[in-house]
Symmetry: none
Amino acid sequence: MNPFTPLDNLRIVLVETSHSGNIGSAARAMKVMGLSRLYLVAPKCAIDDQSRALASGAADILERVVLCDSLEQALEGTVLAAACTSRRRDLPHPAYTPRQAAPGLLSQAGAGDVALVFGSETFGLANEDLMKCRWLVNIPANPDYMSLNLAAAVQVCAYELRSTLADSVLPLPAFQPARHQEVESLFSEMERVLVAIGFLDPAHPKRLMPRMRRFFARAGLEKEEVAIWRGILSAAEKRKN
Amino acid sequence: MNPFTPLDNLRIVLVETSHSGNIGSAARAMKVMGLSRLYLVAPKCAIDDQSRALASGAADILERVVLCDSLEQALEGTVLAAACTSRRRDLPHPAYTPRQAAPGLLSQAGAGDVALVFGSETFGLANEDLMKCRWLVNIPANPDYMSLNLAAAVQVCAYELRSTLADSVLPLPAFQPARHQEVESLFSEMERVLVAIGFLDPAHPKRLMPRMRRFFARAGLEKEEVAIWRGILSAAEKRKN
């Protein structure tokens, strides 16, 4: 058993979905981000082979899906429901981007079940259903073409929830950064060899060494790399034609 | 005509895609976030009715797709290539989440073309292709099930780029980033000279060139710096004792 995370309290609620493939793709999108609880409200299609094919390794989510007759039923027991919609309303609820909404959704999910509600592919959510949700979530989109696929919308929201949860900072690869004096002595050696091989004219150095410093500063040197560069400089200096 | 945005310089590069539907879904994912330039490298499928059905309103992206024989060709003229991969490597390049990568990708896209590269559904990207990219992008995922659908991965990255675009991106200091082929030809030259000066044994190359690539990837090369490194290599080669 994995330890509890707020994602375990997140319900993805799909209302009147038409395409069975979208149910499968939504399940996969959920599982890949660590969500597991899928609710279907009055679906216009069955969970079929197409759903299972697109769910791929998320078949377990399809097996544990909760079928509901009404949105009301799917929201039972939740502490917060947010409707994902591209439409703005005359009397808008608080509306957030997924990024703005994620911290609040997760924080509420620490206290109880939270629902993210998605409408049908063609019609979105009815006003009546929107009114049952406390928040609106608007995914930023191209104003010339806002037609986000249903499972893609689930993917974006699930991704935001997971990213915000971890605020995932990738660990740096294990390496040994070089010390200041190792870097400085490499620069001295480099300058000496560049003069020796006739690339740097000490009488007219221009801005070569400052440029080299700038380049190496951007990269940042590891201990082993200092050794490699020292080896290269030494080989260049010894070179015979 | 819409005003220019850095998204116009973003190439989505799909390598050896197997399922035509994914090409269509990726096109839709792009358009909905304002991206438009799709490159296909050696696709294992044709753009067919399934692609067009899933592209929905993004058929124009499919019509203007750029077909390439190799990744090399798809990266021609880019100033930055980032590989989207779930795998971590022995000698990792700089790796970022989409959120961490987005500001840098957009800022570079202000200066030239930037490629986001996605591997095949089954095998991801070959090491050889990964080595041609300067950055890795890892989408945070459920460690128990990391199998993100290809078009879903495109959707997440495109969403991050659009979301970040809205935030303020500090302009880079004015400089001319080197083009992909300039960097590649510098690496060829470097390898040749390192052999010539006796530092690199072609019979036992170990991991020297991958390490050099990694170092240069961290720094990112400017045009003028390519010229400087070429000068240094040439001086090293001609060196007489």
